[in-house]
């Protein structure tokens, strides 16, 4: 027993040695990533003076940077906006796309291929191709003049631009489910619509979770659409808000506060990633290609 173990280890060491250059390259790359994120994190707890003299945390942890960023610079506001937009848009995306994906993957009907091709092509369309007419319509309807309608418009657009990706992603999941479930339900007299909501949708749960994580990250980080369509400061989502905040903090010279704001912005997706990185990585390559 003991001899066998020793033997295995010896082989491993030889293998590890052969792989050493690979380890070295990866270590250099990820140390850089850690230094980058780690330094910003430490800087967000230091004073601006310490940042400039390269003595991070010399006077202990300064949580007041976060308090200042959260309240004075109103990171709280843009954070809340993005949270509301992402949660509503992600939920509606599932309600809208899951039925469509189910029908597209299960039934043969005229136009099925056409819709699929349309959705796939839309993932490669540059945003510049859609913003001008949309802005024209929206401005003519006066939607941008009211906070409520403008906010709803933003959510509508977040949903719209993510529909092709979400639908195509979910299609592969429904495609993999066995037809036996629907047949059994049909024999028991369950109408197809009910079968979908009560049986098929819950079974596609892994796919729904993965696609929702992607949608959340996409909407949380969305910049261009929000920049153009969020007409008032109180509607700004996090990415746009952070941009203007950084610009103003450069003038006030509050570097510590700026790094605190940066940390607050990347924290939600980062925390999601820590817990769900395996699922996210499997989703990138497994279910369709991300646009």
């Amino acid at each position: 027993m003991a001899r066998e173990k020793k033997y295995r280890e010896a082989v491993n060491w030889k293998k590890e040695l052969r792989l050493f250059p690979g380890y070295l390259i990866l270590l250099i790359w990820i140390s850089f990533t850690f230094v980058l994120l780690g330094w910003v994190l430490l800087a967000s707890f230091s004073t601006t003076k310490e940042i400039f003299s390269n003595k991070l945390l010399a006077s202990g942890l300064h949580f007041e940077n976060y308090v200042k960023a959260w309240i004075n610079s109103d990171v709280a506001g843009i954070f809340r906006n993005s949270l509301v937009y992402s949660i509503i848009a992600c939920s509606l995306l599932i309600v809208i796309c899951a039925p469509a994906a189910y029908v597209l993957s299960r039934f043969i009907f005229p136009g099925n291929k056409l819709i699929q091709t349309g959705f796939v092509s839309a993932m490669g369309v540059p945003v510049v191709m859609i913003v001008l007419p949309l802005f024209g319509i929206v401005a003519n309807l006066g939607i941008l003049n009211h906070v409520l309608s403008n906010g709803m418009l933003l959510i509508f657009l977040y949903i719209g631009i993510n529909i092709p990706y979400t639908t195509i992603f979910l299609m592969t999941f429904f495609g993999n489910l066995s037809r036996a479930f629907e047949e059994a339900a049909a024999i028991d007299g369950c109408p197809p619509t009910k079968t979908f909501w009560l049986i098929m949708l819950p079974m596609a749960q892994p796919g729904i979770i993965t696609v929702t994580i992607f949608n959340f990250i996409n909407i949380w980080n969305e910049y261009f659409i929000s920049l153009i369509f969020a007409n008032s400061d109180q509607l700004r989502p996090i990415a746009v808000g952070l941009y203007s905040m950084i610009n103003s903090m450069k003038y006030t010279g509050d570097w510590a506060g700026m790094f605190a704001a940066v940390v607050i912005v990347f924290l939600p997706t980062f925390i999601l990633y820590i817990f769900l990185s395996e699922k996210i990585i499997a989703g990138v390559t497994g279910g369709g290609v991300k646009g």
């Binding site: 590890e16 990820i30 401005a139 719209g160 261009f224 991300k290």
Partner: protein, 301 residues
């Protein structure tokens, strides 16, 4: 199937109608708009003046727009070579049987989930900072005084700085695509090659590379699609509105149509639409080229 007709329509209607409003109608209208002179973006069709290809000709004669296309091309080509090489290298290492594979993979992909604004700020305000920057600190520790004094964000270096920072964030995604492609290749090929005496390098050259053609195609297409929408990074790296070092077509379009920048001489939404059409043509052309140059139909595996 007839029985399900109602269900099919009801299930598809919301997704397809939103798709029509957000994608189909705007795309068609943008293509039409690119052939007209349109003073205001909200103008009704009756006020549009048909000018044929005038918008495209005007763009071709605008030096700032030409610069922006040149910048985009450099980002696509230089950035593409850097990102694809690093991504392929990492993918090969990751799939070579190392320990902590999923940890390495997760950390390399990490920058992709961070908001571009936050990531760009970290690079701008920390890595490239002339006062307390990472590059400055590292280079002066190594005694490379000349390198530590480089102003990474001045006009001579800004483009390279932007490109490096952008590439850093993109490598992870393309690495995942490569790695999943490599993992799909059956290990039988490598075993057979090892028995025949082929070394690792030759195995990579004659087995991995040819079988990855399809994966290369996916990666190049995705890289092109993301590059065309290059906007946030460029906006963050230029403090002035019309910075010729980092301007891209999207930024130019934004300035033309929505910006209150000083460089706007005339408002013409048709020009903005023409930029969109040009970029789409580029994407389609690259897609077509990839499909023809990187055919893998003759390979079965």
């Amino acid at each position: 199937m007839k029985r399900n007709k109602g269900m099919i329509i009801a299930f598809l209607a919301p997704a397809v109608s939103i798709f029509a409003i957000v994608f189909l109608y705007p795309i068609i209208r943008t293509i039409i708009m690119s052939f007209f002179k349109i003073d205001g973006i909200t103008d009704p069709v009756s006020k549009w003046q048909f000018t044929g290809l005038a918008n495209f000709i005007k763009l071709a004669n605008t030096s700032l727009f030409r610069t922006s296309m040149w910048n985009l091309f450099r980002i696509w080509l230089i950035g593409g070579v850097i990102v694809m090489s690093l991504a392929l290298l990492f993918a090969v290492i990751i799939t070579s049987g190392i320990r902590l594979k999923s940890f390495f993979r997760a950390v390399i992909y990490l920058p992709n989930i961070v908001s571009a604004v936050a990531l760009a700020t970290m690079w701008l305000q920390y890595v490239y900072s002339p006062k307390f920057g990472l590059l400055k600190t590292v280079f002066s520790k190594l005694g490379l005084t000349a390198l530590s004094k480089v102003q990474w964000l001045d006009n001579d270096h800004k483009f390279m700085a932007l490109l490096l920072a952008y590439c850093f964030g993109m490598v992870g995604y393309h690495m995942l695509i490569f790695a999943s492609g490599i993992e799909r290749i059956s290990s039988d090929y490598f075993e057979a090659a090892t028995l025949d005496g082929a070394d690792k390098l030759n195995q990579f050259r004659y087995i991995t590379m040819p079988l990855l053609k399809g994966v290369f195609r996916t990666n190049i297409t995705m890289w092109s699609v993301t590059s065309v929408g290059f906007f946030v990074w460029s906006q963050l790296f230029s403090t002035v509105t019309a910075d010729t070092q980092t301007i891209t077509p999207m930024v130019y379009m934004y300035m033309q149509i929505f910006g209150a920048g000083n460089s706007v001489t005339e408002r013409n939404s048709g020009l903005g639409a023409a930029i969109g059409v040009l970029l789409s043509v580029c994407v389609v052309a690259i897609f077509w080229l990839c499909n023809h140059l990187l055919r893998d139909d003759d390979l079965e595996f």
